[in-house]
């Protein structure tokens, strides 16, 4: 059975205190989610041990905790401790950031060297560094390559596992199934979302696109989900950055659609 997690960021407005966060986690569990995917910042209002106990009591799995790459520089120990406390194997290391991105090949090499150190440390701790693949990795560099080509193909980051995101891949203009095939065996987490065209909102031929619960939009999610499963994905996570209605209702609808995608009721 495929495991499905809620992207906690979808309900970030309901995570402002420990009580709120615990109630939100309980609600997600009652909806039927197997786990949550979260940014580390969303957990900061809860005391660590109490949070670990709550998650354990609910029987939820934290499928990934994401931090900006910069945190690997100033708080690697904290990242590791948090992941171990929450029994989370996939530790998100964010994406390549602007300081490495816009300064040419030397900066890319610098990132790769730092990433090698991160990979070694995580491996020694029994953890997996999870790279959050977005859209900017598909901007062509002066050599005609994507940064993604380097990140996915170089020895320094061979230990990286990948969290893919269909909305970002679509916005990058690449075919998600092609990227999934390249990352086969290295893609434990796949973020699913959907996109529709907003009514009566066209400027200079450009229609406004907006996120929506799975199944309401234009994405070919059945094909992409099949491709992700072929690539060995363990977790589908569902969620939206913006919701046009109650975010919990959006999550519930997406969960039901994701279960159907996986051939489950």
């Amino acid at each position: 059975m495929m495991k499905i997690a809620a992207q906690l960021g979808t309900v970030r407005a309901f995570c402002n205190t420990q009580n709120e966060l615990f109630e939100t986690l309980s609600r997600l569990k009652r909806m039927g989610f197997d786990g949550v995917e979260t940014e580390s910042g969303l957990l900061k209002n809860a005391e660590g041990h109490a949070l670990a106990e709550k998650i354990s009591e609910l029987g939820l799995t934290v499928c990934s905790i994401r931090s900006p790459f910069a945190r690997t520089d100033y708080d690697m120990d904290g990242m590791i401790a948090q992941a171990k406390a929450l029994n989370c194997r996939n530790v998100g290391v964010g994406t390549i950031t602007a300081s490495y991105f816009f300064s040419g090949a030397a900066a890319t090499e610098k990132y790769l060297d730092q990433a090698r150190g991160v990979c070694e440390r995580f491996r020694s701790e029994g953890l997996v560094p999870l790279y959050s693949l977005r859209d900017h990795e598909f901007m062509r560099q002066s050599d005609g390559e994507w940064i993604f080509d380097k990140l996915a193909g170089r020895a320094q980051t061979a230990d990286y596992q990948w969290e893919t995101d269909v909305l970002s891949l679509t916005r990058a203009g690449v075919a998600p199934q092609t990227i999934f095939a390249r990352l086969a065996g290295r893609m434990p987490v796949c973020r699913l979302s959907d996109q529709k065209i907003r009514e009566n909102d066209v400027y200079f031929f450009y229609a406004k696109r907006e996120e929506c619960p799975l199944g309401e939009g234009l994405f070919d999610l059945p094909a992409w989900a099949r491709a992700a499963r072929r690539a060995g994905t363990e977790w589908f996570t569902v969620g939206q950055e913006l919701c046009d209605r109650d975010p919990f209702a959006c999550l519930e609808q997406s969960l039901a659609y994701a279960r159907k995608l996986c051939g489950e009721k």
Binding site: M139, Q195, D220
Partner: protein, 270 residues
Amino acid sequence: MLNITPAAQLFTLRDFIQTPEGFADAIRRVREMGCGTVQFSRVGASIPADFITEVLREYDMKVCVTHSPMQRIFHDLPKLIEEHKAWGCPSVGLGNLENCYLDDGYEGYCRFIRDIAPVVDELKKNGMTFAYHSHTFEFVEYHGRRMYDMLIEETDPEGFHFIQDSFWMKYGGLPHEKYMEKVAGRMDVLHAKDYTLQLLPLGRFVGETGTIGEGNIDYPPLLRAAARTGVKTIAIEQDRCCRDPFDCLRDAFAELKRLIETTEEEGGDA
């Protein structure tokens, strides 16, 4: 190699085709690229049709379809047909559904379908087709139905044809090959451009129209689907160019030609 003709959509060169001299020069330069088919769009309204006919003859240039002004399609159809016949062009196209329909949402699409039906009939009587060029806004849903699907399902399949666009399908995150299947036999001309990522000043990456070969669209699967569904011509249309539009067109044409020549049909070896 696929049996598809690469062509130039003159919208790419719109700034250069507003006078008779500019038009003739643009056709000459396109011909020198090795391109023998164009689509008309935004050709200067004051350029006499006879002059255009002469230029086409002089450079042995074919016209696969036009984007014609909506007002002329509805109110000057006999003359439009006459011009198309003189140019050897079999299809009158609409480049963009205008606000008088768009602003009415679902009702607007229904009204357009009603209004265009007699135009389609008249074109059919003359052995021609109407061609609707889509962006992404047609994929809006009203009453649980995408308006593009309504255009497919509630128009005359023989006379109402489509021009899909590789960029705009990507922009919507749509499965383009599946939408080619939906209009199989009703799309003689496909628009092609690339999808390149640009960084905006506020730190957002956006997809922008680019020169084929410089962006992220994976063309071989699209080309195979185009061949399978009856596309005869692929017209390069680049809305915005970061350098001289003729240079963009030349590079895109060379790349599209190479892709057509090196892509095998389904079941082939490549």
